[in-house]
């Protein structure tokens, strides 16, 4: 080429730039591929790993199963199969087969002829109907149709005949075939365990490597505005979470540790995983190290609003649906938190949805002036632990911002205290020694503690004389409701003499009253102080836990905590502290010391509850669940929800009345057993709902003094003074625990037949089960030692459900685990052979009939 003078600008080559930019572009594209297929799909690796682990497991099981098959038997069966096969290959069978083939040809021909004829007839039928409907002449077609009908019948017979003749021979062949099939079946039966494993192995081998997801449209954060609210892919890696048998595998391949208890009512297909566990269900990518900063899957990145809940923290999710439920066997920590929230009086200031009308935690202060001295009260408010180390009353932050607040508060309360009239007069004096005996005998220690003895459900009485006087005690223990209608303490129906003795005993306990402080009393009498006291009480919310005159219509003092769990950390004030900025740490710090976040500009009225660390954790967990999330009814089936509410009313009453101090309910309680021993303790109430008739339970709870079921026990069932509504709630609760309806039933009018009665009498007698060696019969005392005594059977008719006794005598442990009564008739084998034909069900009915007939 001719040399040309090139313009340096024109001649500039950009090929290097093109190369650099083009290469960068290609490399970036390549990078996108690597990222797409490797980096972002960590679940693929997990699936391969799990499949190989499962194959290995199945391999071992297969080897194990193989050794357990009887080789000789298998050999024998296989020999039989070979023989049967040989027979099928024999010349005779071969000729038969040829014959069948020939006859089948005839059959197919016959069928075809029939089919063609039928088609012809259909055509004629169409023409006939067509002409008929068009109004034309159709007689010709009709005639032809009928003609063809005859022909068809004939052809049909031909088909049937051909069929019969073919089947004749076929049946002969089938006999030999059946023989072979029989032995093949035997072989299959022998190899069945292997076949199951083989099928499983094939399943693993054919399992596609793909994302496994649960899609739930209407559950999740978006509410109805977002479709597919919950999409959980957790099982893409946690492949065995919902499969038994992988308990020993390490995460992420482990079986869910509570699969049996939880998955039964909460199937993954319906509830998903993140609903309880948190984390990002849609994400499938774990970046960097597992559970590191950028772990999107488990919600560990800093943008995530729901990081994975680990350990006990998962329990907080139960609150979403089970907020109103007091008893959660699978979530003990949350249950503890909920109970603390109610019993320590948090609910007095902070409202929570579903617990708006929960009763106040502390005693009424409307008549407090008649009960305690100002000196004691002052010391108590200042520091409750001084009088009761385990006091429920929190330490109120009075006198911190300005001095003299305590006196002003007391001044208001005492000046507004109503005068106390003693219904039973003043303390007449009594015998303290007898009082101590009565105190320990009738059941005071079912709730109270004295000298380290007692259940600790109510206050310790060791220093009672420092707090109050003999007149007040004497009147209070006889009828607490006469002094304070909202008193939690029930009446033990003490006689005036018993009450006097107990008072004499109690009034000896403690160091006596403090010296009168005239200066304090003068301050308390000042009406100006009372006026200021009113304002201080409204600020500090004493009325949240105590009924105080003048505050009856006051609202809750502090914030509603129904949605506290979803508070953003920007909504929480960490003050000058160096506490880590998380919701958990804030709440923990606040509960540990409510004043920890205060600085010069902020103030707080929250008192210090002196909580222990485990209590703080439980409360934190309970509050963490308070996210106010709406869960569609479908997930909390409505009938369960209503029923649950009903049951829970009863459960709350049982909790509040300290029933579990003496009785065993839902497997908990009967603390008194450790103090007075099991033989003197009140009965185990497991299965009580199925046992007693509703009308008896109603009458008994209304007035337990009117009837004594276990009259040999010294301890008394107190009179709680329940109203009808409360008793119904308790009955609904007990019935629901035993899955029986709380409905009234009657004993059938029909008299039991004599045979049954006689059989029942015989079975109950010492010949067989000796019922009366433990049970009373009217006034007749049983022979066994008192620790084995049981209630009067002559009263059973009035107290026990008609259908209960037959089930009870079969297996009492099923209703009341730990009951002393043996199971006499669990099945026919245990039934005496010579009574009612040895039928255990009939015998159980006979015993019922006999017992219900006692005293008639």
């Amino acid at each position: 080429m001719a040399e040309k003078e090139t313009d340096p600008l024109e001649g500039t080559s950009y090929s290097k730039i093109l190369f650099i930019v083009g290469s960068l572009f290609a490399l970036v594209s390549l990078w996108a591929f690597v990222d797409e297929f490797i980096v972002r799909r960590s679940w693929i690796g997990f699936q391969f790993k799990f499949n190989s682990m499962e194959t290995q497991k199945l391999d071992e099981e297969y080897k194990q199963a193989k050794t357990q098959i009887d080789a000789n038997q298998l050999k024998d069966v296989r020999l039989h199969i070979e023989q049967a096969e040989a027979k099928l290959e024999s010349p005779e069978v071969k000729t038969l087969r040829n014959e069948v083939a020939k006859r089948n040809i005839v059959l197919v021909d016959a069928k075809q002829h029939f089919g063609f004829a039928k088609a012809d007839q259909d055509e004629v039928f169409y023409e006939w109907k067509h002409h008929q409907l068009e109004g034309g002449d159709f007689a010709h077609y009709k005639e032809k149709y009928l003609e063809l009908d005859d022909k068809l019948k004939e052809l049909k017979q031909g088909v049937e005949k051909a069929e019969v003749s073919a089947n004749e021979i076929q049946d002969q062949i089938n006999q030999s075939e059946d023989e072979k099939k029989k032995w093949q079946g035997e072989e299959k039966k022998l190899l069945a365990p292997l076949a199951v494993l083989e099928r499983k192995m094939k399943g693993v081998a054919e399992r596609p490597i793909e994302i496994k997801q649960v899609v739930i449209d209407d559950l999740g954060k978006g509410g109805p505005a977002v479709k597919w609210g919950t999409v959980d892919r957790c099982e893409s890696c946690h492949m065995a979470a919902d499969r038994a048998g992988f308990e020993d595998f390490s995460q992420p391949f482990k079986t869910h540790p509570h699969r049996d208890e939880i998955f039964k009512d909460h199937p993954v297909e319906k509830y998903g995983c993140t609903t309880c566990h948190g984390g990002d269900g849609r994400a499938t990518q774990i970046k960097g190290e597992i559970f590191g900063e950028q772990d999107f899957v488990h919600g560990m990145d800093h943008h995530s609003s729901s990081p994975l809940l680990r350990g006990d923290a998962v329990q907080s999710s139960c609150t979403k649906c089970h907020l109103e439920q007091f008893h959660l066997p699978n979530a003990p920590t949350v249950e503890l938190g909920k109970k603390l929230f109610m019993s320590r009086g948090c609910i007095g200031c902070h409202v929570i949805k579903g617990y708006e009308d929960y009763p106040k935690a502390g005693p009424a202060l409307t008549k407090v002036a008649g009960k305690v001295d100002p000196e004691w009260l002052y010391a108590w408010i200042k520091d409750p632990t001084h009088y009761l180390p385990e006091a429920k009353m929190p330490t109120i932050p009075l006198d911190i911002e300005s001095a003299g607040q305590t006196e002003k508060v007391m001044s208001y309360i005492l000046q507004n205290s109503q005068p106390l009239t003693f219904k039973f007069g003043s303390f007449p004096g009594g015998n303290a020694v007898a009082g101590k005996e009565t105190f320990e005998r009738v059941g005071c220690i079912g709730c109270h503690t004295m000298g380290g003895k007692g259940t600790g459900l109510a206050v310790a009485l060791d220093r009672i004389n420092e707090k109050t006087g003999a007149d007040w005690i004497y009147n209070w223990i006889q009828d607490p409701k006469a002094i304070s209608p909202e008193a939690r303490m029930p009446s033990l129906r003490l006689s005036p003499e018993e009450a006097a003795n107990i008072t004499a005993y109690l009034i000896q306990q403690g160091g006596g009253k403090a010296a009168t402080d005239e200066a304090l009393r003068a301050k308390l009498a000042d009406p100006e102080n009372a006026k200021e006291g009113f304002l201080i009480i409204s600020q500090f919310g004493c009325y949240g836990c105590h009924t105080i005159k003048g505050f009856e219509s006051m609202g809750r003092l502090s914030v509603d905590l129904s949605t506290f769990g979803k508070k953003d950390i920007h909504e929480l004030d960490f003050g000058d502290t160096h506490i880590p900025e998380t919701w958990d740490d804030w709440t923990h710090g606040k509960l540990k010391n409510p004043r920890v976040y205060l600085n010069e500009k902020t103030s707080s009225k929250m008192p210090n509850f002196r909580l222990k660390d485990e209590q703080i954790n439980a409360l934190t967990l309970f509050l963490k669940g308070m996210k106010g999330e709406e869960v569609p009814d479908r997930f909390v089936e409505t009938h369960v929800r209503d029923r649950q509410k009903e049951i829970d009313q009863g459960r709350r009453l049982v909790e509040r009345s300290n029933c579990k101090g003496c009785h065993l309910i839902e497997g908990e309680g009967r603390l008194v057993e450790q103090v007075i021993g099991p033989e003197k303790s009140p009965p185990n109430l497991m299965g009580i709902g199925a046992r007693v008739s509703p009308d008896f339970m109603f009458r008994f709870l209304k007035d337990p003094g009117s009837m004594k079921v276990r009259h040999w026990l010294d301890i008394r069932m107190p009179t709680f003074g329940f109203n009808d509504q409360q008793i119904n709630a308790i009955m609904a609760y007990f019935s629901a625990l035993d899955h029986v309806p709380p409905t009234f039933t009657s004993v059938p009018d029909k008299k039991p037949d004599a045979e049954s009665l006689a059989a029942g009498a015989s079975l109950a007698s010492s010949d067989y089960f000796s019922c009366f060696s433990c049970h009373f019969q009217g006034a007749q005392t049983p022979a066994s030692p008192p620790s084995q005594w049981a209630p009067d059977l002559a009263q059973a008719r009035n107290r026990i459900r008609y259908d209960f006794i037959p089930k009870w005598v079969q297996d009492p442990q099923k209703f009341t685990p730990g009951v002393g009564m043996p199971g006499f008739l669990p099945n026919d084998e245990s039934a005496p052979k010579d009574v009612l034909g040895g039928d255990h069900l009939k015998q159980a009915d006979a015993i019922r009939d006999y017992i219900f007939n006692l005293g008639q």
Binding site: S13, S15, F19, G22, A26, S29
Partner: protein, 178 residues
């Protein structure tokens, strides 16, 4: 060719093949190659983009009540609307037939008087058992996997099909015996 460019000025082959590419030419080629491979990868990626990794489709499984809900010898249309499945009980045997015509995929009608399935699109007809006997349909209707679950409910899996022409109608999973 309508060009008026004289032959002498047209592109000529390189006269000396022994001359290697100049550096400029090489970078030009390599640059274009890299650019085009980037575009190619992009197109491949786009193709992959069109196939999402996970689908939000209804589950192929559904429960179809208890066996005693079905009348002997009658085709049940209970699940035709919602699942496109007929359930047929014959004696102790229960089968699930997919309501998709084997011709071009319309939903046939069950004509109980004429005891046949008839496709409204092109007139294919099937017997009660699903065997084609008229019209263009080339093969019988497909049957679906049907099993009894632990609670005695019929469980149908629409993802597993049993075809007559493959001899699968005798497969023990293609019917339930009660």
């Amino acid at each position: 060719m309508s060009s008026t460019i004289p032959e002498s000025e047209r592109l000529k082959p390189v006269e000396n093949p022994a001359n290697l590419w100049t550096r400029r030419e090489f970078f030009g080629f390599a640059g274009w190659a890299a650019f085009l491979s980037g575009i190619g990868l992009g197109l491949l990626g786009f193709l992959r983009f069109m196939f999402p990794r996970v689908l939000f489709e209804p589950s192929p499984f559904f429960q179809a009540g208890k066996p005693d809900e079905y009348v002997d010898g009658e085709v049940s249309e209970k699940y035709k609307e919602s699942q496109r499945v007929w359930i047929l009980r014959q004696g102790a045997k229960i089968i699930a037939i997919q309501a998709i015509c084997t011709h071009l995929g319309c939903t046939p009608r069950w004509l109980s008087l004429e005891v046949k399935f008839k496709c409204p699109c092109h007139g294919s007809g099937f017997t009660k058992e699903g065997v084609n006997f008229e019209g263009p349909a080339p093969r019988p209707l497909e049957r679906l996997k049907i099993t009894l679950n632990d609670e005695g409910m019929l469980l149908i899996d629409k993802s597993k099909k049993f075809l007559w022409e493959k001899g699968q109608w005798d497969d023990p999973e293609s019917f339930v015996t009660v």
